[in-house]
Amino acid sequence: MKILVAVKQVAALDEDFEIREDGRDVDADFLIRDLNEWDDYSLEEAVKIKEGHSEPVEVVAVSIAPEEADEALRKCLAKGADRALRLWDGALEGSDPIAIGRALAAIARRESPAMLFAGVQSSDHAFASTGIATAAFLGWPHAAVVSLLKYTAGARSAVFRRELEGGLLQEVEIECPAVLTIQLGINTPRYASLRAIKQAAAKPIEVISLADVGISAGEVGEAGSHSHVRRMLIPEKGHAQLIEGTPAEQAVRLAGIIREFKGDAV
């Protein structure tokens, strides 16, 4: 019994960032990296299933990324993942979610898990499509934005709830294996102490190549993608002004602005 959890080391902007010279991304020097918040929840969900089951369940964290993502994988190991896999090849550079989905599907075929969890989206690029693309390549049933899951490891099906617009919930039964993208708040991710993370450094992270999962360089990266980032840009600043002064002065100025907008005589 195995649950595969797809995770990503996301980037957050540091103060005063700069765009890369080719204009297509932020200069890596200005990025602070961390495990994607959604993936924290999907990993926790998998670990909870493992802990609630008497038979051994293997939780495998997988990331398609260069070496720097090892940090995120170690965090997963510290939080209870049994194994960590990292697929990387220079050819993967520039992959869109479809290409990543193709690679993830190839890994899933190799690992043949009973469930594949992914986060609803990544906090940096927010495509919200990697998980679903993976399911499409696998031909597995899938569901997005899962906010509650009832699943016993090894069961043929799982029942879950999804968040719909307007506060509506949908309860769905799904056949396994399936791909579920997990929503924030489904659980409370545990804290991985620094000591646990350090100890996790002793566990190996298995690094695999495209050849290991049987896909060619042409199927991923720019060549295997259907969308391409043209450039990153910072929008023009809108009209905003900071009202300075004591609270009393600020209030007077604010009231003046409101009157101006209402068209009252000042």
Binding site: D14, E15, D16, I32, D34, T188, R190, Y191, S193, L194, R195, A196, I197, K198
Partner: protein, 706 residues
């Protein structure tokens, strides 16, 4: 036998041999029961984790002996109880020593070597001394009874803030019963001792060697004459003496036998606890040994043997209970009850012959003897408990070691989890970019040296709050200006500095602490400077006391002593004396932790301020509530915050103008508390640095420098 030798203590006189033998049977039984109890206790302590002591054993013994003999620690903040205990202690000590000396002569030296000394003048003087000792003992005991029965100080109430009425261990009446049994037993032993003495005098009134020397036992002699007045004569005296002899003797033997099983054992455990004392117990927390698989304390046997002995040293005096800021505001924590809970737990699990299964040794939880996580997280690690404990119990490391286990399990407030993750990611608790750490310096009219790039005389370790909190940034900028005007050659580490880790360590996140300390030590070692100065007492404490354990040995001082020298040496000159009515709040980490009581007060005096002390000041300063990581955990709604409690104390000072702090966290906590207690407008909270600036206005100071 000379007349002199006849003047001696009457022991078994007129006892048939059988009765003497019977007494020895009782005596040896009592000693056997005592020794078995001692064995059980030692076995209990040995079930704790190992600990190797540092420093000379002789010095430890000497320190213990001095403290025990002068009773300094017992008399603090409770002179009456200290005085009464002193009477009991010396009374008991002399009487015990006297009785032991009789045994020494009668049972050992005389039968084996024929040595006798217990007669003549020596006996008479000793007899007088013991009579006076008895008065001291009884006087002390009677005061303690008066205290417990009539004065009833709140700190002797055993009701627990972390339990509710109805819980099996809510107010633990068995402790109360034991207290009274202890007092009564000693009173009865003392009183029957005098009666026995008197009865013996009456019985032997015809013997001049006894009767003529009776005034060497003045209390006994007085009672004897009173008994005679009531009509007691030789025969009646003999009968009374016989009965009382047995009663007094058996009670005393029972007392000895029960020492290891009752609170009486504090005679030994409290002294041992003093000998094992770590003077930096709260200032320098223990490291997690590399070999230890999971950090912290999960089971009672994870405490080291010294900590287990600490638990037994506690005399329930309630001084820590009284001093604890968490307890004062109604949080579910009393340091006393943490110790007593764990003691009860240790006694119920570790005194049996076989060690129970690991699952039964878990000290975390809500069952009797266990400590709840709410209790552990209520602690501010302010050290008030450790500082005042008369028997050197070290509560703070015990609490932090238990928290380490909670952190490992993620059993903490979600906001604290977030903060720890933020610190891991950014190196500061504000979640700001590392690059912004030195941003406060940009608006200054001069450039602050980057100590990573050029050598400086003084390296200023700024700390998180002073770097990122907008209100504190103003103080930080002011301090930079003052340093510059005083011509100090100083620099900062800019983004090379991380959170110092003091509070992270006190939260119990040791791994993160190691990371932060390691990063700061590397950054400091990469810079060239003579000393470190900081405005943050928390950073000050950990760099001063804890970094050396990680290889970082630096000279560091808090700004208050540094500025005091600048003022005294004329580098900074007071231009406009302030003449303000101020009170000074001792920050825990500057005052109690590092004894920095004088420098800030001296600076205030140099500025021309009047200092009106709060009742709780210096070593008894009352924590603002932000310590131990509590600044990252919201206080419960509707409950008084320690800072509010403190501001109310200050508000009672007539005509107070400025509440002076010298810690960035204090500024945040108390400005907030000033508003929430409705005292805004009555007085202001100011950082000492701001007062210095007021006394040395900018333009004129610059002119002075020019």
């Amino acid at each position: 036998m000379s007349r002199d030798e006849a003047v001696t203590r009457i022991l078994f006189e007129a006892f048939p041999t059988g009765e003497v033998r019977l007494f020895y049977v009782f005596a040896y039984t009592a000693i056997a029961v005592f020794l078995y109890g001692v064995y059980v206790q030692i076995r209990k302590y040995r079930r704790g984790a190992p600990l190797s002591l540092t420093g000379s054993l002789w010095r430890r013994f000497l320190e213990m002996a001095v403290t025990v003999l002068n009773h300094r620690s017992i008399a603090r903040r409770d002179h009456a109880a200290g005085g009464a205990h002193r009477l009991i202690f010396y009374g008991f000590l002399l009487l015990f020593a006297g009785t032991s000396t009789i045994t020494l002569e009668y049972d050992i030296l005389n039968p084996l070597f024929g040595i006798r000394f217990w007669y003549g003048e020596f006996y008479l003087v000793f007899s007088l001394v013991l009579d006076i000792a008895g008065v001291a003992l009884l006087g002390g005991l009677l005061y303690m009874m008066y205290r417990r029965g009539w004065l009833k100080p709140p700190k002797l109430d055993y009701a627990r803030p972390d339990r509710s009425p109805g819980d099996p261990d809510f107010d633990r009446p068995q402790y109360r019963h034991e207290d009274w049994a202890f007092l009564w037993t000693l009173v009865v032993i003392g009183a029957t001792g005098y009666l026995l003495e008197a009865a013996r005098l009456v019985w032997l009134e015809a013997r001049p060697d006894v009767w003529d020397t009776r005034w060497w036992s003045p209390v006994g002699a007085l009672i004897a004459q009173a008994l005679q007045g009531l009509g007691l004569a030789e025969r009646g005296g003999g009968l009374l003496r016989h009965g009382l002899w047995w009663f007094h003797g058996l009670l005393a033997l029972l007392f000895i036998a029960l020492i290891p099983y009752t609170k009486v054992k504090h005679i030994v455990t409290a002294a041992a606890s003093w000998m094992l004392r770590d003077p930096l117990a709260a200032q320098r927390l223990p490291r997690v040994p590399e070999a230890q698989e999971t950090p912290g304390v999960a089971k009672i046997t994870d405490f080291n043997w010294k900590q287990l002995l600490n638990l037994d040293a506690c005399t329930k005096c309630g001084r820590c209970h009284e001093a604890c800021p968490a307890r004062a505001v109604g949080a579910p924590l009393s340091p006393r009850d943490v110790i007593l809970s764990l003691r009860e737990f240790a006694n119920s699990t570790l005194e049996s012959g076989a060690l129970p299964a690991a699952a039964e040794l878990d000290v975390h939880g809500k069952s009797p003897g266990q400590v709840a996580m709410e209790t552990l997280w209520s602690c501010r690690t302010c050290m008030a408990c450790v500082e005042i404990c008369p028997v050197a119990v070290e509560h703070v490391p015990i609490i932090v070691e238990m928290r380490r286990k909670l952190v490992e399990d993620g059993a903490m407030d979600p906001l604290l989890t977030k903060t720890l993750q933020t610190i891991t990611k950014t190196g500061n608790s504000f979640g700001e970019s590392r690059r912004k750490r030195g941003a406060w310096a940009k608006s200054l009219p001069f450039k602050i040296k980057d100590a990573r790039k050029e050598p400086v005389e003084v390296l200023w370790f700024v700390g998180d709050y002073a770097s990122f909190d907008p209100r504190n940034q103003k103080v930080t900028q002011t301090f930079a200006s003052l340093l510059s005007e005083a011509g100090v050659d100083f620099g900062i580490l800019y983004d090379g500095e991380s959170n110092a880790g003091n509070d992270v360590r006190r939260v119990g996140e040791e791994g993160l602490y190691e990371l932060l300390a390691g990063a700061n030590i590397a950054a400091l070692e990469g810079a060239s400077f003579k000393t470190i100065v900081t405005t943050d007492p928390h950073s000050y404490n950990t760099i001063r006391n804890e970094y050396p354990d990680f290889g970082g040995k630096f000279e560091i001082e808090h700004y208050t002593s540094f500025v005091r020298r600048l003022l005294e040496g004329g580098k900074l000159k007071v231009i406009k004396p302030l003449a303000l009515r101020t009170t000074f709040h001792d920050p825990c980490h500057l005052g109690r932790f590092n004894k920095g009581y004088e420098a800030p007060r001296e600076v205030l005096r140099l500025l021309g301020c009047e200092i009106l002390e709060m009742g709780r000041c210096r070593d008894n300063s009352f924590c603002c509530g932000a310590g131990g990581g509590r600044i990252w955990i919201p206080d419960p709604v509707g409950q008084e915050k320690p800072a509010q409690n403190r501001i109310r104390e200050a508000a009672a000072i007539p005509g107070l103008e400025v509440y002076v702090v010298s810690c960035p966290k204090d500024l945040t906590m108390f400005e907030d508390a000033l508003k929430t207690t409705g005292n805004e407008g009555k007085f202001v909270v100011k950082e000492l640095i701001e007062l210095i600036r007021e006394a040395i206005p900018v333009q004129r100071a610059q002119v002075a420098v020019a």
